[in-house]
């Protein structure tokens, strides 16, 4: 019995991989995504390998603050305060990816928790949560993040909290609808009939089944959240500093856009390529969990 289950799972996994890798653009997306992850990990654990002393601060060079075009020493050129763009972008990827991941995953966990309970319990609890999430959808998310973040104080921590607050309702809704359809399936009925407790059903049966689509959604949202994160710093949410962050880097270059367009183009490209990559990857992953695709 156990063995057969295992064989089936392996077969399922194999099918998933075949579907994913048959989509060339998704594979490209995955490769770019992995490159970003590797960069972030190296920055975190061995910054010196990349020639960086402090991954949390930009290395200003006050001897020549005007942005310089790309050259052998500075492959991507420099931006305001003489910062080497390549190095700054590599530092920034760690910050942006790390925080976006933190925001999306926390949002997803909180959302999934409430979404599953809400759909499973139904009744007034569900109703109240629906109304609460409705309110969150009633304010443009960028503006809401701005408002909440501001009220908490203009620090990076409050920015992250604000974005989590903005993001969890999306996952609440999503897992709620997933749970509603899973709830209808026979194996849940069977588990209920055989006296398994509600808590156990939610943890052992419903949560694992919501996981694949939620993971796909997370991969798609990484790009969106990184974009919002960068947007907030770009418009100056954080009081000036030396945080290596892609939105901030873009804003540093903005004043020189007429004479040094590369100073805005490269940080911008770093975000755009990442967002494109996770979108492509997410589309591929979506195919993997699409039952229509699986059966064909």
């Amino acid at each position: 019995m156990e063995k057969r289950m295992e064989a089936k799972e392996i077969e399922g996994l194999r099918l998933s991989l075949v579907i994913f890798f048959s989509n060339k653009t998704a594979v490209v997306g995955l490769m770019i995504f992995m490159a970003y992850v590797i960069d972030a990990l190296l920055m975190q654990f061995a910054p010196s390998m990349l020639g960086v002393n402090n991954p949390n601060a930009l290395a200003f060079d006050y001897s020549n603050t005007i942005p310089q075009p790309p050259s052998p020493e500075h492959i991507l050129g420099t931006t305001y305060f003489g910062v080497d763009l390549l190095q700054a972008i590599m530092q920034a990827i760690r910050i942006d990816l790390g925080y976006s991941g933190l925001i999306v995953i926390s949002g997803a966990l909180i959302g999934a928790l409430f979404g599953i309970i809400s759909a499973y319990a139904g009744g007034w609890f569900d109703e109240i949560l629906m109304r609460i999430t409705d309110i969150f959808f009633g304010i443009p998310y960028l503006v809401l993040a701005l408002g909440v973040g501001f009220a908490l104080g203009r620090t990076i921590e409050s920015m992250i909290i604000a974005l989590i607050i903005v993001w969890w309702p999306l996952y609440e809704r999503y897992t709620r609808s997933l749970t509603l359809s899973i709830k209808e399936q026979t194996f849940i009925e069977a588990a209920k009939a055989s006296g398994v407790s509600d808590l156990k059903i939610m943890i052992k049966h419903i949560f694992p089944n919501t996981l694949p689509p939620v993971l796909v959604q997370i991969s798609l949202d990484l790009g969106v959240v990184m974009a919002i994160f960068a947007t907030l710093t770009f418009i100056g949410f954080l009081p000036t500093g030396n945080l290596p962050e892609l939105g901030y880097l873009t804003s540093l270059g903005l004043n020189y856009i007429q004479i040094a367009p590369w100073a805005t183009i490269f940080p911008g490209l770093a975000i755009t390529i990442f967002a494109l990559a996770v979108n492509l990857m997410g589309d591929g992953l979506r195919d993997v969990i699409d039952p229509r695709r699986r059966s064909s």
């Binding site: 109304r131 609460i132 409705d134 309110i135 969150f136 959808f137 009633g138 304010i139 443009p140 998310y141 960028l142 503006v143 809401l144 701005l146 408002g147 909440v148 501001f150 009220a151 908490l152 104080g153 203009r154 790009g223 974009a227 919002i228 960068a230 947007t231 770009f234 418009i235 100056g236 949410f237 939105g247 873009t250 903005l254 856009i257 007429q258 367009p261 805005t264 183009i265 911008g268 975000i271 755009t272 967002a275 494109l276 979108n279």
Partner: protein, 351 residues
Amino acid sequence: MKLWAYILRRILILIPTLIGLTLMVFVIIHLQGNNLLLAQYLNPRLTGPAKQQQLEALTERFHLNDPVYIQYFYWLQQIITGDWGYTNTPIYSGSVTTAISLFLPNTIIIAVFASIIIWLLSIPLGVSSAVNRDSIRDHLIRVSSFTLYAMPIYLIAIALIILLGVYFHVLPFSGPVNPLLVSNLDWYKNGISYPTHILLIDALIHGNLTVAWDAFLHVIMPSVTLALGIMAGIIRILRASMLEVLEQDYIRLARAKGVPEKIVINLHARRNALLPVATSFGYTVAGLLGGAVVIETVFNYPGIGYWTTQALLVNDVGGIMSSTLLFGLILVFTTLILDILYALIDPRIRY
């Protein structure tokens, strides 16, 4: 008849939504006790005993010594009667409601131009992309909408600035007008034009075509940016839903009836394909409003969004909190209008 009942019901649903929205803003303001509220309503120019006096008056007015849930109602009363407090930013300082009346028109003009562009372009592009699936045109439309969709909107703005402003020098990209043109006009003061506060219209009213043309040129880039950012999503949804609709039985029947292909596409298929676009429109509008904040900032265009970021930079509570509420209100009411439009195209909704 049925349609009216639907509209009435939809308006009734508005009440709990509005309560929720104001409650949310109220909670945000109270995240740090009364500090933010006081900062918003204290006249920043007051000092010494006058300030102390106003503080007491405010405590009285907002019943700050009562429990928080009671305070909500007093705060709501102020909001409804139009007292939104003060704002003190480099571009304007005075009462929030005046600030809104000065800046909102500019945001509206950008939104209107963007909507026109979106309306004119996204539907034909999305439809023709689906109808000519796998053609070169389809690939082009898909790749560009995908890229635009993935880009944060400020990067779209920057890309346009570099391309059209810096490289080709065809369009201005900063401010609402060339300041030299308006320096001695008596209807334009401190960056604000009178009477409508929309420079383009005011210039036309005063018969100054040079300024009107220049103002128009300045509106193009922000509106195009906003339009591009939003169109990307619409085209993607429209293409997908059009492809799905084209497989439907009723399209096959329309063809079986011998309806010309043009009519099959433009009437039978398109109207149905627009439905999912219309449902996702609320989300789109939210993006549009958020986008306005960023776009106005990049282009230094004095709308609500620009005011908001200016307020952010100088820690002006009134600006931030009021714009949160204002954007929420705009979103709620546009969703209402969109829902009603949606019911107009889909007869099934009106139940």
